[in-house]
């Protein structure tokens, strides 16, 4: 089952590239939802079955696959935008950067003092690559919605690392963390609405009234 999990992680990394390359927001939202669902399945593959596992898997899939995409789509619809136009760095350069970071993640993971049973697995490189993708999205995109997607990708990267040690994160903490993520995205959605109403745009590069003179 571990090998299947590894293949799914390859899929997760491919989705990273889709998000870096697309300009259509609706597509990026679907991609991040797919990534969430894939990640929701993985714990079921690497851990023995239990009620706790089932609840986490189902709530992960519902939250990341359905509810969060719905929240973001709602914000997109209200703000009436479809595309990320002119990011700070173009799509091709970010794709190349993404490839470079993914390669570096593999090289770096080789050097880390991992536990012997984790050395051959893709978890750590996939986690690092996804983290870096999240950062790239956060820093290079201008639209507030793309930044929220970047934040979600970043969270996904952290979640992949967390898969290595589910026993450290008890059920209650995991559920609460997921709930915090949900509420966080909900609040971000509301704020995006207000940004688009106030500035007639969700371009965060317009948010520059506040700075030191």
């Amino acid at each position: 089952m571990i090998s299947l999990a590894d293949q799914l992680l390859v899929l997760v990394m491919l989705i990273n590239f889709i998000m870096l390359g697309t300009s259509r927001l609706a597509f990026a939202i679907r991609a991040v939802a797919a990534q969430g669902v894939v990640l929701g399945i993985i714990p079921g593959l690497i851990h023995p079955f239990s009620g706790h596992l089932l609840v986490i898997t189902v709530s992960m899939i519902v939250a990341k696959g359905l509810f969060i995409p719905w929240l973001i789509n709602d914000a997109v619809r209200k703000a009436q935008i479809r595309r990320e136009v002119e990011p700070f760095i173009g799509y091709v350069p970010t794709l190349i950067l993404g490839a470079v970071f993914t390669t570096l993640a593999f090289v770096f993971a080789q050097k880390l003092p991992l536990a012997p049973e984790h050395r051959e697995l893709l978890f750590v490189p996939a986690s690092l690559a996804t983290l870096m993708t999240g950062f790239l999205l956060l820093t290079t995109r201008k639209k507030a919605i793309s930044q929220v997607i970047g934040y979600l990708v970043l969270e996904n990267g952290i979640f992949i690392f967390g898969l290595l040690l589910t026993e450290a994160m008890p059920f209650m903490v995991e559920a609460a963390a997921l709930l915090d993520l949900l509420v966080g995205v909900f609040v971000m959605g509301i704020v995006i609405n207000h940004i688009s109403r106030e500035f007639s745009s969700v371009d965060t590069s317009r948010l520059q009234a506040l700075r030191e003179e």
């Binding site: 970043l154 207000h194 030191e212």
Partner: protein, 478 residues
């Protein structure tokens, strides 16, 4: 009993949501906050034992933080009744709800002995505060809210990664992966060094961005500048304390690992000095007095980090400063909110001669300024002095000298802004506002400054003992 500190504010939040009347609703804040303060004093006086599998324990460090938060919140709650009477043009439902949820989450932070639960509580305070910064519903406040939300969310996410690294450090050391503080402390000497270092850096960056350590402070001037005064006070006094407690918890594990403690200490000192330096640079010629207070907050989180890094004699000062900083920021933000209301602006070209126009608020702002810059007889003097003197006793002359240099620059920079505001004569072309100094808007900051004076002149023995107990928990045990 300890759970009541969380349940009581949550109950209040529900009631605040139900109350339909905008004028009556703020009254729920002191109705919850004052019993919360009473409960806190009861818990402080009694010995608490770890409960719920060691997850919940109000240890001395938690007690100190809880005391600071509870007092500050009570002050802000009473003030809110007076303040919101002037802001009847918009609904305060979300504000009251958010404040109480935030109090519950902050109380939880002080009780947690499980680092995962602690993370959840800190994240909850972050989200609960976001709508409060947006209370003024204008372009500037939405910008501040977005920056705050994004930077803090990403920061807190990095802190989660740091926590996972910490758990992984125990896993690599062939222990059961855990995030329970007591188990981490026991297993710390065998923990994997590399992962522990990585965990510490990520957690410091994560919680540090929440706390506003430079260079992660960029959201702070915007959020503090645009939020209503009492929200600013709770950001600067409450959330900073919570994030600092989270860093202290991680630091406890680092100390227990015994070897290479110098690495962690130096990181804290360098970040702290950098924060003070950044604050000193940006404080000069600051025309917006709320932004000035934000830089003052950056300065004081720097002082906290330096003191924690110095260790030994400075620890008492750090824990004392945690209380003093929160309370003094309360005085400054609440009185600055009064100035803002009275003048209809928050820049120094509008606000002049406050002592003439509104003597009470102007005087309180001046007193708060004297206290926060570390002048006797107020209590921040004692805490800052004990930190800087222990820097010299430890032979860290460079740290001590830079500390004093930055304090001096900050004092000059801050007085260049504050003195013209309170002294002189008000401009005569100012539009009249309906604000007048009343008991509810002046009383709370006045009581707070009296507390600071009391702590500075004659601190009660029970408090000193509590601070010593807290400091003892952060000693390095060979």
């Amino acid at each position: 009993m300890v759970y009541l500190t969380i349940l009581l504010p949550l109950l209040g939040a529900i009631i605040a949501w139900i109350i339909p009347d905008n004028r009556m609703r703020p009254v729920i804040l002191p109705v919850i906050a004052l019993p919360h303060l009473g409960l806190t004093s009861y818990l402080l006086a009694t010995d608490s034992v770890p409960s719920n599998g060691g997850w919940i324990w109000l240890d001395p460090l938690g007690k100190i933080t809880l005391l600071g938060i509870s007092v500050l919140f009570a002050v802000c709650a009473v003030y809110a009744v007076g303040y919101l009477a002037y802001r009847q043009e918009r609904s305060n439902r979300v504000l009251c709800l958010g404040l109480l949820v935030c109090l519950a989450a902050m109380s939880l932070v002080t009780l947690c002995q499980h680092l995962g639960l602690l993370w959840v509580a800190v994240e909850t305070t972050t989200i609960a505060m976001a709508p409060l910064i947006y209370f003024n519903r204008n372009a500037r406040s939405i910008e501040a809210t977005w920056k705050y939300l994004l930077i803090c969310s990403v920061g807190i996410a990095l802190a989660l990664l740091g926590l996972l690294f910490l758990a992984y450090a125990t896993h690599v050391a062939h222990q059961d992966a855990t995030l329970l503080l007591s188990e981490l402390l026991v297993g710390a000497p065998e923990i994997n060094r590399g992962w522990l270092h990585a965990a510490f850096i990520f957690l410091l960056v994560g919680y540090g961005s929440k706390m506003g350590l430079a260079p992660l402070h960029t959201w702070k001037p915007d959020a503090y500048g645009e939020a209503p005064g009492m929200v600013g006070a709770l950001l600067a006094g409450g959330l900073v304390s919570c994030a600092f407690l989270a860093i202290i918890r991680v630091y406890q594990v680092c100390l227990a690992s015994v070897v290479e403690v110098a690495f962690f200490q130096n990181v804290l000192i360098v970040l702290g000095l950098f924060s003070m330096g950044v604050a000193a640079v940006f404080m000069a010629r600051q025309h917006d007095f709320k932004r000035m207070l934000a830089y003052s907050s950056v300065e004081h989180v720097g002082i906290l980090a330096i003191g924690l890094g110095l260790g030994k004699g400075a620890l008492f000062g750090v824990l004392f400063h945690l209380l003093n900083n929160g309370l003094t920021k309360g005085v400054l933000f609440l009185s600055s909110a009064n100035l803002h209301r009275s003048y209809g602006g928050k820049t120094t070209d509008v606000v002049q001669g406050a002592l003439t126009r509104i003597p009470w608020s102007g005087g309180l702002f001046l007193a708060g300024f004297i206290a926060i810059t570390g002048s006797p007889p107020f209590s921040p003097f004692i805490s800052e002095f004990s930190i800087v003197s222990s820097a010299f006793i430890e032979g860290r002359y460079w740290v001590g000298s830079l500390f004093i240099l930055f304090l001096a620059i900050i004092f000059i920079g801050m007085s260049l802004t504050v003195l013209p505001m309170v002294m002189g004569t008000p401009r005569d072309d100012l539009p009249a506002t309906d604000y007048k100094d009343r008991l509810l808007t002046v009383g709370p900051p006045f009581v707070t400054i009296l507390i600071i004076l009391w702590l500075g002149v004659w601190p009660p023995e029970a408090l000193l003992q509590l601070l010593r107990d807290g400091a003892a928990m952060l000693e390095i045990r060979p």
